[in-house]
């Protein structure tokens, strides 16, 4: 037997109370870990985006309002010598869904000539690029989507669009990408898309967003103001932003996530500390006589302090682990691929989030155990023994 064993057995003393206190740790820690993981996943995407020197140009009013196709040429004309812009690529929302599937795929029609340039991080092979340029039905698919539907390169797949004119088109997969931020998407050739729309009488080719690859950060800044200035007071006023700002416009609906997480963390720490502190005080009061006996038989103040504090810490850590472990297991089993329009590859519990949560649990455990541990030191053995006859 060790003192550690005694501590574990102490948690069994009042199983209901220990269990409820652990739940008080488990639930907020589970929520906290998911939140932190979400923030970290977004930061990861954000970091990856920063390196790509891309600008998004969309309708100033709303993304859903398509800009005319010709704006691409006007944007390119703003930098005739191509000193600041490498290439411009128009995107149009296709909103495809595999027939009879429950959920849709983030599928977009893209300009076939410039897509491999603007998204060069997809690491194109010569063969892939050739197939992309050669076949109007070519499609690039994210690895999560491919895995979900069991698609491989060369497969012919049919997607039904969820937006007018509700096209059902066949595509040929020429590339599967696992690049961060692109694994949940599917990219189609816009020319094929627009021609099919035109056949249904929709003769308004346009783009929801133009993506520009720039030559440098300075070039991005210059083009941003140049483009918005150029289209100001026109029927197609634009809003130009970098990729992170573009992504943030989607996550704004969820509020300031990092700030929210910090707020939650503080509230969680405070509430759980109160709950755990209360539990430890009750436990201490119930065991006053027992701790007095411990001291009588030779346990030093330091050791008694350690026993009480360690019990609190153990309760906190076991409680936190009880919340985090199932959360991580469920997330990895279910494999949450995306959260709405968030540009994250998948939501899995980050090791950093686990470490942070366990550190918080540890701190709360120490904070909650300090007062009873200190009282255990101050406990007058003689008085405590007298009280019990």
């Amino acid at each position: 037997m060790t003192l550690g064993y005694v501590l574990l057995q102490n948690l069994r003393r009042n199983p209901l109370r220990s269990g409820l206190t652990m739940v008080a740790f488990a639930l907020p820690m589970a929520v906290f870990v998911v939140g932190i993981s979400l923030v970290l996943a977004l930061q990861q995407v954000s970091k990856a985006n920063e390196a790509e020197l891309r600008l998004a140009v969309q309708n100033r009013i709303a993304l859903v309002n398509a800009l005319p196709e010709r704006l691409r040429r006007e944007i390119e004309a703003l930098d005739p010598e191509k000193k600041r812009i490498v290439a411009v690529c128009g995107f149009r929302w296709f909103g495809g869904r595999v027939p009879n599937a429950k959920s849709g795929i983030q599928s977009l029609g893209v300009d076939p000539d410039t897509f491999p340039i603007v998204y060069r991080e997809l690491r194109w092979t010569e063969e892939e690029e050739l197939n992309w340029q050669r076949d109007r039905r070519a499609a690039v698919v994210g690895s999560n989507v491919a895995a979900q539907y069991g698609w491989r390169v060369g497969d012919r797949v049919t997607l039904e669009s969820t937006v007018p004119p509700y096209l059902a088109l066949e595509f040929v997969i020429v590339k599967i990408t696992d690049v961060t931020g692109r694994v949940n998407g599917m990219y189609l050739r816009r020319d094929y898309f627009e021609e099919s729309r035109a056949e249904r009488g929709f003769r308004t080719p346009g783009c929801n967003v133009f993506w520009l690859r720039c030559t440098s950060i300075e070039a991005m800044r210059e083009m941003q103001s140049l483009i918005d200035g150029h289209f100001a007071n026109s029927p197609n006023e634009t809003r130009t932003m970098d990729e992170n700002a573009f992504a943030a416009s989607f996550t704004e609906a969820l509020g300031n996530l990092p700030g929210l997480m910090q707020g939650i963390a503080l509230v969680v720490v405070f509430i759980v500390a109160l709950v755990a502190g209360n539990t430890m005080m009750m436990s201490f009061r119930e065991r006053t006589r027992e701790l007095a006996v411990f001291k009588a038989i030779g346990f030093s103040n330091r050791r008694v302090f350690g026993v009480v504090l360690a019990e609190s810490v153990l309760l906190a850590l076991v409680g936190a682990a009880a919340g985090i472990a199932p959360t991580a297991a469920v997330l990895s089993a279910v494999g949450v691929r995306t959260v709405g329009f968030l540009p994250i590859t998948s939501l899995s519990v980050s090791p950093t989030a686990i470490v942070v949560a366990m550190c918080i649990a540890l701190s709360v455990g120490v904070a909650a155990g300090l007062v009873p541990a200190w009282q255990a030191i101050r406990l007058n053995t003689v008085s405590a023994l007298r009280r019990v006859g």
């Binding site: 005694v6 030779g298 003689v382």
Partner: protein, 239 residues
């Protein structure tokens, strides 16, 4: 470990409550020989438990000296007293005070956790202590699976497992029926006669005190009178 004698010289002890001094022991002089079994009797407030606490190093006198074996307790620091208690004193309480979530063997093992000792040696000592108190077959029982008498036996095993010089018992039969009390007192007797432990027992029960070799009557913080148990002394001489 052998037995230790106890010598108290002009021991005063007072407690303070709201700046009011409450004297408990008032110049007590007392000697208990090594290997003696002494009973402490007296009315409530006479200083019996206080005396037990002073001898056990749980408290220090306001004035005077307390010597147990070779140790002069009044001059020792709190941490030194704690370490001393773990090696030299075994406590037996009226309400047993076992840890409810531990088995009998684990309760007995508790004081041994303070020593650097191999697990096998700890187990051997625990088994020996439980066998001495007649509970060698109850090692895996938890306190709530034992009778009051058995719980007190476990508490006695916990007190003797470190092989202390002195056993201090505070009304060890106060919560037990007459028959079980007799068993516990016989056990204490055996620890005194067969293992030579010095035992000091606080009791209100004259029959319990009859098991001791000498009964010390305290009143108002001083030794009022003492009685020698002739039957016990004769039995000891005969053996």
């Amino acid at each position: 470990m052998g037995a230790a004698g106890i010598v108290l010289r002009d021991v005063h002890k007072a407690y303070f409550k709201d700046r009011l001094e409450i004297p408990v022991l008032a110049g007590l002089n007392l000697e208990i020989a090594p290997g003696e079994f002494a009973a402490l009797m007296g009315p409530s407030g006479s200083g019996k438990s206080t005396l037990l606490h002073l001898v056990g190093g749980l408290d220090t006198p306001t004035r005077g000296s307390v010597r147990v074996g070779e140790s002069q307790l009044e001059s020792m620091s709190e941490s030194a007293l704690t370490a001393w208690r773990s090696r030299h004193v075994g406590f037996i309480f009226q309400m047993y005070h076992l840890v409810p979530v531990l088995t009998a063997a684990q309760n007995v093992e508790l004081p041994l956790l303070l020593f650097r000792m191999a697990s096998s040696e700890r187990k051997r000592r625990v088994q020996t202590a439980l066998s001495i108190v007649g509970l060698g077959d109850r090692t895996d029982h938890r306190p709530n699976q034992l009778s009051g008498g058995q719980e007190q036996r476990v508490a006695i095993a916990r007190a003797i497992v470190t092989d202390p010089d002195v056993l201090l018992a505070d009304e060890p039969t106060g919560d037990l029926d007459a028959r079980t009390s007799e068993e516990i007192l016989n056990l204490l007797n055996a620890l005194n006669t067969e293992f030579g432990k010095t035992i000091v027992m606080v009791t209100h029960d004259p029959r319990a005190a009859g098991h001791a070799g000498r009964t010390l009557h305290l009143d108002k913080g001083v030794l009022d009178r003492e009685e020698v148990n002739a039957r016990k002394t004769a039995a000891a001489s005969a053996s």
